[in-house]
Symmetry: C2
Subunit: 411 residues, 2 copies
C-alpha cells in the first residue's frame, strides 16, 4: 500500500556568475562555515556565536541597539516582523510606495488590520518628502514605512528627510534595507529609524534564509508592552529578543545553525574589510559598470540623483528581446541577471553590484557578454567600448589610491 | 563618527555527538549539498530541484497531495502556517494539549483570534479519544490540532482514532509531525489529516531552517477561497503553493537555496534507504537503547503503550543531579542530550533516536558514558550492563536479518 520511492539523481548544480539582485556567490570562509560541525541551538558554543553575531550586526547597522539580531526567515520575514510587531488593529500606517517592495509593505500592513495611507512616487523616482509631510498632516500614524533601496527600480530615497518628518510626527519609521545593507551607507540613528531589516543574500553575501534586523530601545519597549499580542508568534520580536539577549536565553525556535554560522563569517569579513571601505568598493564597481553601459549607449532607468550603487536598472533598447539576452547570458556564460518586475517586465534589466559578486572580473565579463549579445540582436557592435570605459574607471581609482598611499607615506 | 569593527575570530565549532531531539549530525551528501554552487531562486535548475524536492516530500509523507513543499522557516513556522491559514477570527479550534508543543499550538491559535477549546492529558500520557469526542460534541470546530510525537514527553497519540473523530465532525485536522517525520510511520491519509508539518533537523537529518509541510486538496481550496486574507503574508500557503506549483512560479520569497539543496539530498537518501526500512532502523536503535537503560534500572517517563521510537524520555533517578550529567556528557564526551521542559526541568533527560544520529556507535557510546557518569554520582556501577543489553538487541536483530536473507535466497 506504500508509495514507491522516486528515483532522483544526486544534486549537481551548475556554476553560475550571480549578477542579479541576490543571491550572490559566497566567499570561501562562508562556505566553510556552512559545513562546520553543527551544535545544538542551546550549546554554550552556539550561544557565544549568537553573541558575536549580534555584535557584528551592530557594526553592520552602525548602531548601538541591543536588539540587533537575525530572524529565521528571508527578507520577507523581516518585512512582516517589522510591520506585525508595530501595527495593532485600527492603527494607521503611512506606506511609501514607489516600487514592488513598497507595494508589498502596504499589502502586509493591510493584512495586519492597518488603515493604510499610501505615499506614492512613479517607479524610478524617489518619494518626495513633501508628499510624506502632507500625508502625515492632521493624522496620527503609528508607522511610516519606506524602502531604502527599491530592488525593483534601483532607486534610493532621501532618508534623512523622510526620517525627520516621521520623527516629528511621533511615528515609528520602518526601513527596508534588504538591497542596501552592507553595500551602501545605512545609518538607522541618522534616519530616526525604529526598525531596519535586511536580508542575508545580497550585499552581505551570506546564503539566503535569514533576515538581519535592528530595533531601537523605545520601539522594543513598545512591542513588549503593547495591548494586543503580536499576531505572528513566529515573528514576535519580543520572543526573539528573549532568545538572543535574555539571561535565560528563552527557547523560541531551533536556530538555523549553519545559516547563523555563515552569517557570522560573512559579517566577520565585513568587519575585516571595514564598512566604509566596503561601501566604497560597491561604489567603485558601480561606477565602472555604469561607465561601461554608458559607453554602449545604454540608458539607466532610475532618477540620476537617487541611484542605488548596489543595483543598476537598465532600460532595454528598442528592438531588443530582453528575455533572449538573459537566456543567452545564462546558457552561454552562466551569468544570471534579472529582468524587470511588475509593469517593467520585458522592459528592464536589473544587475546587482553586491557583496562577493561585486568584483572587477564580474563587471568586465558581464559588459563584454552584454555587448556581444546585444550586437547579435542588431544593437551596436562588439568594439569593446564598454570594457574600455570600465577599465578607465578602475585605472583612475587605482591611480587615486596610489597617490593617497604615497601622500600617507610622506605624512 | 563611525563604529569600530569588532575583533572576532574565525568560527571553529567543536565536534558534537548530537543525541538530543535535533538538530542531528548531517550525512556527507547533505554537507556537500550545502556548499554546492548557489543558483538564483528562479534559475531553471533550481525550479527543477524544487520539483524533485516536492516529489521526494510526497514520498516522505506517503501522500499524493500536490501541495507538499518546504516552508522557509523552522518547525515553528510550519506550526503557525497550519493554524494561521485555517483559522479565521471567531473560529473554534480544539487543541489537544499533553505537552509543551500542544500548549504552543493553543497559544498560536489564540493569537490568530480562535476560540480555543483544550483537550488535555497529563504529560506522559496520550490524548484520550473520548475526551476529543466530548469536546467536539455540540460544537462546530474549524480545526482540531494534535502533536503526533510530543518532543517534550516522548509520547505519541492514537492518531487513527483522533483523525476519525475530527473527520466525522468536519473539522480540519492539523498534525505536528516535527519529531516523527522520517523516523516513525506518518500517514496523513490514514489520519484524515488536512495539514501535516515537520522540521528538517530531526529524523530527516537536514540542517535546521526549513519546514516540510503537506496540505490536502480540499484544505488548499479552503485556504485559497477563505473570506479573510491569511494574516501572515510570509506563511500564506496559497502564496507558497503558487511559487512551488503554479505554471508561472509566482515569486514570493528568495528561497533559502542551500537549505533546499540540503533537504533534497536528505530526502534522496531517505528514498534510497526506503521509508519502511528507515522506520525499522529507528525502532531497532530505540529497542537497543531502551534495553540498555532498563539494564541500568532507569525508568522511562512515557506511557509504555504510546512511546515514540524517535525520542526517549528518561526519569532522573533520585539523588542524581541531571544538569551535572548533561554538562559532563558535553564536556567529557562531546555528547549532547536534552533535559526536561516546563514542569519537568531538572527531572527528565530526553534523548533523540533521530536520522543520521541514530546509529549503533552512538547508542553504545551514550549508554557507556551514562553508566559511568551516573556511577560517579553514586547511582549504580559501571559494569557495562547497559551496553551488553543493547548489544544483545543488535545481535538478535542481525540474526533475524540473516535468517530472513537466507530464506529469501532459498525462495
Amino acid at each position: 500500500m506504500g508509495f514507491d520511492p522516486p528515483h532522483v539523481a544526486e544534486l549537481s548544480p551548475p556554476q553560475r556568475v550571480l549578477m542579479g539582485p541576490g543571491p550572490t556567490s559566497l566567499p570561501p570562509a562562508v562556505l566553510q562555515a556552512l559545513i562546520a560541525p553543527i551544535t545544538g541551538h542551546k550549546d554554550p558554543f552556539f550561544l557565544h556565536v549568537m553573541d558575536e553575531t549580534a555584535e557584528l550586526l551592530r557594526y553592520l547597522f552602525q548602531t548601538s541597539n541591543e536588539a540587533s539580531l537575525s530572524l529565521p526567515g528571508t527578507g520577507g520575514a523581516g518585512m512582516e516582523a517589522a510591520i506585525a510587531n508595530l501595527i495593532q488593529p485600527g492603527d494607521t500606517a503611512v506606506v511609501c510606495v514607489n516600487g514592488l517592495f513598497g507595494a508589498r509593505m502596504a499589502e502586509i500592513a493591510r493584512r495586519h488590520g492597518a488603515d493604510v495611507v499610501q505615499v506614492t512616487a512613479p517607479w524610478g523616482k524617489p518619494i518626495d518628502p513633501d508628499d510624506l509631510r502632507k500625508a502625515l498632516a492632521g493624522r496620527k500614524a503609528r508607522v511610516v514605512t519606506t524602502v531604502h533601496g527599491e530592488t525593483s527600480t534601483g532607486v534610493t530615497q532621501p532618508m534623512e528627510e523622510l526620517g525627520q518628518i516621521a520623527g516629528d510626527q511621533g511615528a515609528f519609521l520602518v526601513v527596508d534595507v534588504v538591497a542596501t545593507i552592507g553595500g551602501m551607507p545605512v545609518i538607522p540613528h541618522a534616519w530616526n529609524s525604529a526598525i531596519c531589516y535586511g536580508a542575508s543574500q545580497k550585499c552581505i553575501s551570506a546564503p539566503p534564509g535569514v533576515s538581519p534586523i535592528t530595533v531601537n530601545l523605545e520601539t522594543m519597549d513598545y512591542i513588549r508592552n503593547r495591548a494586543t499580542p503580536v499576531p505572528c508568534w513566529y515573528l514576535d520580536l519580543g520572543e526573539h529578543r528573549n532568545y538572543w539577549f535574555a539571561k535565560e536565553r528563552i527557547y523560541h525556535h531551533t536556530a538555523p545553525v549553519p545559516l547563523i554560522y555563515a552569517l557570522h563569517e560573512a559579517l566577520r569579513l565585513i568587519a575585516e574589510e571595514g564598512i566604509e571601505a566596503r561601501w566604497a568598493r560597491h561604489a567603485l564597481h558601480n561606477r565602472a559598470f555604469v561607465a561601461g553601459l554608458e559607453a554602449m549607449d545604454l540608458e539607466l532607468f532610475a532618477d540620476p540623483n537617487y541611484r542605488m550603487t548596489t543595483l543598476v536598472s537598465i532600460n532595454v533598447p528598442n528592438g531588443v528581446d530582453e528575455a533572449r539576452v538573459r537566456g543567452e547570458l545564462l546558457r552561454e556564460y552562466g551569468i544570471e541577471i534579472s529582468g524587470g518586475l511588475g509593469p517593467y517586465a520585458g522592459r528592464m534589466w536589473r544587475v546587482g553590484i553586491m557583496g562577493h559578486s561585486a568584483s572587477h572580473n564580474n563587471v568586465v565579463l558581464l559588459l563584454s557578454a552584454l555587448e556581444r549579445l546585444l550586437a547579435r540582436q542588431g544593437y551596436g557592435s562588439p568594439t569593446g567600448a564598454g570594457v574600455a570605459a570600465a577599465d578607465a574607471e578602475y585605472s583612475a581609482a587605482a591611480a587615486e589610491y596610489s597617490a593617497a598611499a604615497a601622500q600617507a607615506a610622506v605624512a
